[in-house]
């Protein structure tokens, strides 16, 4: 027998009471963990996807959202390919580079993959018009980065530039993202039938951790023909010069490109940053609320427990238990409650994130095990803080008056 064991036995014998004591703190921690696990993933996703664009201006059909751009549903709106020429023939200055793309979700066998048509460097270079406008050697540059965060994070610049500037992509050739390759069991030189047309896999792209892993890249012309979307593209990615952007490049583009949405990645990024900051604020407010509600609820539970056990405290003091032993008894109990609340909250919050993430935010949420540490730390701190005062009162009890009670 030890005092710690006594605490455990008491806890176990009255475990049903625990639930009420733990409820507030567990739910509170769960909410924070859920918010955090969802927002960290969406943050990473957006950062990665934008990072991967390699462009700082996006021209989308008016009706399309940035989400359409990634999900590429079958009925996602398109815009005419002529717009590319229109930009080139205009007097607008500051467009360094352009990449038109057509993206569609298609079936290969029984698997759903995203097919993206792109123009390889060689074809861009072969267009006299494009050459004359200085787009020769269409190596995308990030010298004029949209924002520091979007481009510096994740260290993917090199890979991205390599992939974006694909030298040649002949008709009937395709490049396959690593996840698609795995799913369809493809390797270099295997053949693949996409919507009735045979393609040769020239390369499996190395994993990037972005939507591109789930894509097949083919020549834009092929894709347009295949999808019966001649001269249509889903988006035009533009590398614009920073100075030009601040001098009104976007407005000029909008003027000559009717029915489009012209946005900078910077706008998208700053919207995301605002969302993230809002999430952080919400989390902070939640933290403060949980600290008080959770602390008071545990404190209340401990106080009820102290009162229920007044006699027992008296008996122990009579037998020679010191005040410090009484402190130890109740604070140990609070510690156990805190650890339990933290672990339960983490599990509950993570489950909520993992299960609800795909529904509510359209993202795959993975457990962040580091949060277990913070959950337990936070929960223990709240629990101990809430229990300190009732425990102090318990230790101060006059042993005699509590012995008399019956």
């Amino acid at each position: 027998m030890t005092i710690s064991k006594l605490v455990l036995i008491e806890l176990w014998k009255r475990k049903s009471q625990l639930i009420t004591g733990l409820l507030a703190i567990t739910l509170g921690i769960a909410v924070i963990v859920a918010i955090q696990s969802v927002s960290i993933v969406s943050e990473q996703n957006v950062a990665r996807n934008l990072d991967n664009l390699g462009a700082n201006i996006l021209v989308l059909p008016q009706a399309a959202s940035i989400d359409d751009y990634y999900t590429s549903d079958i009925d996602a709106p398109t815009l005419p390919m002529d717009y590319v020429e229109r930009i080139l023939t205009s007097t607008i200055a500051g467009v360094d580079n352009m990449s038109p793309k057509l993206t569609r979700r298609v079936k290969v066998g029984d698997q759903s993959v995203v097919l993206t048509g792109i123009l390889p460097k060689s074809e861009i270079a072969s267009k006299p018009l494009w050459q004359s406008s200085g787009l020769m050697g269409a190596e995308l540059k990030t010298a004029c980065a949209p924002t520091q965060t979007a481009n510096q994070s994740h260290g993917m610049e090199d890979k991205k530039l390599q992939r974006k500037a694909i030298d040649t992509l002949y008709s009937e050739d395709c490049l396959v993202g690593s996840q698609v390759a795995q799913r369809l069991k493809l390797s270099a030189n295997s053949k693949i039938n996409i919507v009735g047309k045979e393609f040769k896999v020239v390369k499996i792209l190395s994993e990037t951790g972005t939507v591109d892993d789930d894509r097949i890249f083919a020549n834009l012309k092929d894709v347009q023909t295949l999808l019966k979307l001649e001269n249509q593209v889903s988006a035009i990615e533009i590398m614009g010069c920073c100075n030009a952007i601040s001098e009104g490049l976007l407005g000029q583009l909008r003027n000559i490109l009717p029915d489009t949405r012209v946005t900078t990645i910077g706008q998208i990024v700053s919207t995301q940053i605002e969302t993230n900051q809002l999430m952080k604020k919400i989390t902070l407010v939640m933290l403060i609320i949980i600290f008080f509600v959770g602390g008071i609820s545990i404190g209340n539970y401990i106080w009820a427990n102290v009162n229920e056990r007044k006699r027992e405290i008296g008996i122990l003091r009579m037998m020679g238990a010191e005040r410090s032993t009484i402190y130890k008894m109740f604070l140990l109990k609070a510690l156990i409650l805190g650890v339990a609340g933290g672990i339960l909250g983490f599990i509950l919050g993570t489950l909520a994130g993992v299960i609800l993430g795909p529904y509510l935010a359209g993202i795959i949420v993975k457990p962040v095990y580091l949060y277990l540490f913070w959950s337990v730390l936070l929960s223990v701190a709240i629990s101990l803080a809430g229990s300190l005062f009732p425990t102090y009162l318990a230790a101060k009890f006059d042993p005699h008056s509590n012995l008399q009670e019956d």
Binding site: M1, T2, L6, L316, M319, G320, A321
Partner: protein, 225 residues
Amino acid sequence: MILKGENILKQYHHHGGLINALDHVSFTVGKGDFVTVTGPSGSGKSTLLLSLFGLIRLTSGTVFFDGKRIDNISDKHLTDIRKKSVGYILQSFALIPYLTTIQNVMIPLALEKIARREQIKRAGEILDYVGLSDRMEHLPRELSAGQQQRVAIARSIVHRPSIIMADEPTGNLDPTLSLEILDFLRKINQENKITIMMVTHSPVAAEYGTMKLHLNEGKIVNRKS
């Protein structure tokens, strides 16, 4: 001499006035004595019993235990004396409801941080001694009143105290069980040379005393030995 009180005064505030629960009480208890304290209800018996080792703070007076003055020492020090040298038995048994018989008996040993193995051995021996070796895993509510009081007795002697303070130990028991418990206390007193100070209002119980104190209105009005 193991315990000595001199001019013990305990006053309570009550309805604006002062009550002398103990009114200048003096007594001396020798080692191995079986002291019975009798007196009508409200005469100060419990107050006397509980105040000697600090469960109730005295208003004034001196208490000596084992030759040392203990009425003016710190709460921590008094707690330590209770832990090592005193065993208490109360009328209501005062067992911890969620602990089994053996766990209850091990509490004084746990407070002294005695090793688990030794705790089990000693608690087992004592429970054997009080005839409860077949009730070790029972909870207090699963025991009869007499059995519960025997657990309390086992708990009061398991840490080998030099004195047992018993407040109406047979107050909740029927006459037959009372005699059983009283015989038991006498056995402990005689076999183990443990001093006992027992408060009782039963004349039969009082007969067990080798020294008898009779209180009335906080004063010792009669002493016999």
